[in-house]
């Protein structure tokens, strides 16, 4: 009896406390909203947004609804996160491996890179790139082309856009090639398990992925044109590039800062992963006669990845959450557009901040769930 009370009493107290806090907040919110004449509800989502966005991936103008503005802003957030993740992975892997190099200079430069970018607040880095470094770029009329057809100017980075015809045929060819490669890999594994023969899977895959899309150009009627940005005079001293794709400086600064900052953490994950594999594994693999390539592919990497991937995913998650700093330099991401402009216009503080937080929360929880599933799958099953 005494024991039961000991178990139930603290739980009851905690629940009461939580209910009390929530209840207190709800009642206050009700009173406050009544006084200010605001009503709670999500009806505003279908109203006309009537603000513009500087940079969008999908078609959007002021006549669209708040809901559409939300979708477009969310896509902008995802774009930054996606680009950031790609660049930070490339940089992080290179730096992480460089930190393990035998070369004294390379090892130390990599270590200093990590120490340097990791210890400066991300917001300051974003500000530095946006307000200081990118402002030093030339005006459009003075810009020298990079690689002949791209222009880096103070107004953004102009790159050629691709104009496809019959893109769906090309895409289906590409998907077909990937599916074929997966089947061939499964088949090759079976053959190897049965007969011990090894098929040259890599070369077959390479051939498939180049030849099939190539065929779509030759036979399928797929064409690809490039639209190269051309300088255009708007007024006497105002120039702009037309055609092609223009990446705004906000996006460039954000991706640069995010990927430089996060790459230091990814590098540390990679280093820890590779260092975590004991030397014996490598020597054992060599002693059963595997080639250096096979050792890396079949013995080191599968084990290192098991250590590397969970913390790295965590870093990707951090990058996605940090991309909300976009609001500080007016890149139209979810926080700026929705929790900033839309909130100012509608005054629906609770709903909008709630939706914004829920969006990030669901991204995080989804990735976390995926991670747990993956961890369960690759776990070393000890007997």
């Amino acid at each position: 009896m005494n024991n039961k009370i000991k178990r139930i009493f603290p739980q009851l107290l905690t629940i009461l406390f939580v209910v009390f806090v929530f209840g207190f907040f709800t009642i206050n919110a009700q009173v406050n909203m009544d006084n200010r004449g605001i009503d709670f509800g999500f009806g505003f989502l279908s109203q006309e947004a009537s603000f513009d966005m500087q940079f969008t991936l999908l078609d959007y103008d002021g006549q669209d609804s708040y809901l559409w503005a939300y979708v477009v802003a969310l896509l902008n957030t995802l774009l930054v996160s996606f680009l950031g993740i790609i660049f930070c992975t490339i940089l992080g892997v290179v730096i992480g491996i460089a930190r393990l190099s035998q070369n004294f200079l390379i090892k130390n430069s990599a270590a200093w890179y990590v120490e340097f970018f990791r210890n400066i607040p991300l917001l300051l880095q974003i500000f530095f790139w946006y307000y200081a470094a990118l402002r030093a770029l030339p005006l459009p009329e003075n810009a020298q082309p990079w690689f002949g057809v791209t222009y880096m100017t103070i107004k953004g980075y102009y790159i050629p856009s691709m104009i496809w015809e019959n893109l769906n045929i090309f895409m289906s060819c590409l998907i077909g090639a990937i599916v074929a490669i997966i089947f061939i890999r499964i088949y090759a594994k079976k053959i190897q398990e049965k007969e011990g023969k090894q098929l040259p899977v890599f070369y077959i895959s390479l051939a498939l992925i180049t030849i099939l899309p190539l065929f779509s150009f030759l036979i399928g009627g797929v064409t690809l044109d490039f639209e190269i940005p051309v300088l255009k005079q708007l007024a006497k001293t105002s120039f702009i590039y037309e055609g092609g794709i223009s990446l705004p400086p906000e996006l460039i600064a954000l991706v640069l800062a995010l990927s430089l900052y996060t790459s230091t953490f990814v590098a540390e994950c990679v280093r820890a992963g590779i260092q975590g594999i004991s030397k014996g594994q490598k020597e054992a693999a060599a002693s059963v006669g595997l080639t250096p390539n096979q050792i890396l592919k079949l013995v080191i990497m599968p084990q290192a990845l098991r250590i590397i991937i969970p913390p790295t995913t965590n870093q990707y998650l951090n990058l996605t959450k940090n991309s909300s700093l976009a609001a500080a330099i007016a890149y139209p991401d979810l926080v700026l557009v929705f929790a900033g402009t839309a909130l100012m216009q509608t005054g629906k503080a609770i709903e909008i901040v709630g939706i914004t937080m829920l969006t990030y929360l669901s991204i995080s929880l989804a990735i976390a769930a995926l991670m747990n599933w993956y961890n369960k799958r690759i776990e070393i099953k000890e007997k």
């Binding site: 629940i15 919110a29 004294f104 530095f128 959450k321 609001a327 926080v335 901040v353 995080s364 929880l365």
Partner: protein, 422 residues
């Protein structure tokens, strides 16, 4: 990458060393003269060859120098450390040249061509950095809009708080048991009172300075200090809650931790500044700075909790069983057996969380508190001082870098220290 370079090498080792070092010195000299004195000794070579001249010559030189054993100490360590393969040699040259090329412009911008004299924009005549800007705005960057003649109040408050932080070291043996009590309960209260009465003022004959005037680096310190001392106990309670075997408490803790860890800090700050006032009673006013500190504390407590949970999980079950078998209850067991060991384990993790907290504080700029990033934004748009964004951000970056680097080194030392004790 076997380029067959061995074939051109001479049989005689000494000849190889002479040729190799001559080529290497030539290439490094070329880059050095080029970047430091703008003398181009390879300029007479045709076209793009003059650009690649040092790379090619250095590469050849290094491959001549590469040998099993030469007998010269310097050469052997060179070979062992930076010149093991062709690829390594190439990377070595590349990094050396990049440093040589980047050093003189950076030096001349930051020091040689820079200005620091005078106190108007016109004093900056050089092509380099304008440190005059930093000098003139220095007090603003440090103290925000806090009145100039009252800066002593911030300084003395900080000195007092730091001094009190060290008091724990001088506790006598018989007082040691109150150490935790001092740091968790008494110290935060005293620190709060000091900062409230000294920096805010309003009583004891001190002029009231509203929090809107606080700013600069001192605000960064105030915010991170309070968040730091409040998020630790909260995180500890949450970590214990998550490990509890009472389902209601466990689920509430898990929900709390996962919620705060899933949202970006910036939305939390938005919440504190626009949404939180709606949740408070009508006539109840809470200062923006206090709201922000509460928001960051709640946010960081979730991260702190996860770190402490790691320490709790790392303890062997035997510790719990032993404590229970001595008849200790839940609280006795945790306070005297589990937490002292677990917290010792997680000191480096906690230090990292605090480091992240310090790096996150510039974000309060987004909700309109003028800490150092906010003051920089203000100074940057001042019509008298346009165009010095670069200097400002480099200055702030250096300050934060020093703070964060010192913290990370300190946490690394702690990690090493506690590693050996186990």
């Amino acid at each position: 990458m076997n380029l067959g370079l061995n074939r051109i090498k001479s049989q005689n080792q000494m000849t190889n060393i002479y040729i190799g070092s001559a080529l290497l010195i030539l290439s490094i000299l070329d880059v050095f003269l080029n970047s430091f004195f703008r003398i181009n000794i390879s300029g007479s070579l045709p076209g793009s060859l003059s650009i690649f001249f040092p790379l090619i010559f250095g590469f050849l030189g290094l491959s001549y120098l590469r040998m099993e054993y030469s007998g010269f100490k310097f050469l052997d360590s060179l070979n062992k450390n930076v010149n093991t393969t062709n690829f390594n040699a190439f990377l070595t040259l590349f990094i050396t040249f990049a440093i040589l090329k980047a050093f003189p412009p950076a030096l001349s911008w930051m020091v040689l061509d820079a200005n620091i004299s005078g106190d108007t924009k016109e004093a900056c005549t050089g092509t380099g950095a304008c440190w005059t800007y930093i000098k003139v705005w220095f007090k603003r960057f440090m103290y925000g809009m806090y009145p100039n003649e009252l800066h002593w109040r911030i300084n003395s408050a900080f000195l007092l708080v730091i001094g009190l932080g060290f008091v724990g070291y001088f506790f006598k043996e018989n007082l040691k048991k109150y150490l935790a009590l001092y740091y968790v309960v008494i110290y935060p209260i005293i620190a709060f009172l000091i900062i409230y009465y000294l920096i805010s003022g309003g009583s004891f004959g001190l002029v009231w300075v509203e929090t809107g005037a606080w700013g600069g680096l001192s605000l960064t310190f105030i915010v991170s200090f309070f968040c730091l001392i409040f998020c630790f106990p909260l995180g500890m309670i949450l970590a214990l809650g998550r490990r509890s075997n009472l389902p209601a408490i466990r689920y509430i803790s898990v929900g709390y931790i996962e919620f705060w860890r899933g949202v970006p800090l910036i939305t939390v700050l938005f919440m504190s500044s626009v949404m939180f006032p709606m949740f408070l009673p009508e006539d109840f006013f809470m200062d923006k700075l206090v709201r922000v500190i509460i928001a960051i504390t709640l946010f960081e407590a979730a991260y702190c909790a996860e770190v402490i949970r790691g320490g709790l999980q790392a303890l062997p079950r035997g510790q719990y069983d032993a404590a229970k078998s001595l008849g200790m209850g839940y609280w006795k067991m945790h306070i005297f057996v589990i937490l002292p060991q677990a917290l010792k384990l997680v000191i480096p993790g906690i230090a990292n969380t605090f480091l992240a907290l310090v790096k996150d504080t510039p974000l309060i700029f987004v909700v309109g508190l003028a800490e150092i990033a906010g003051m920089l934004a203000l100074a940057k748009t001042n019509p008298k001082w346009l165009g010095f964004a670069m200097e400002g951000y480099i200055f702030a970056a250096i300050i934060f870098w020093i703070i964060c680097y010192a913290m990370s080194k300190y946490s690394y030392n702690l990690e090493e220290k506690y590693k050996t004790e186990r």
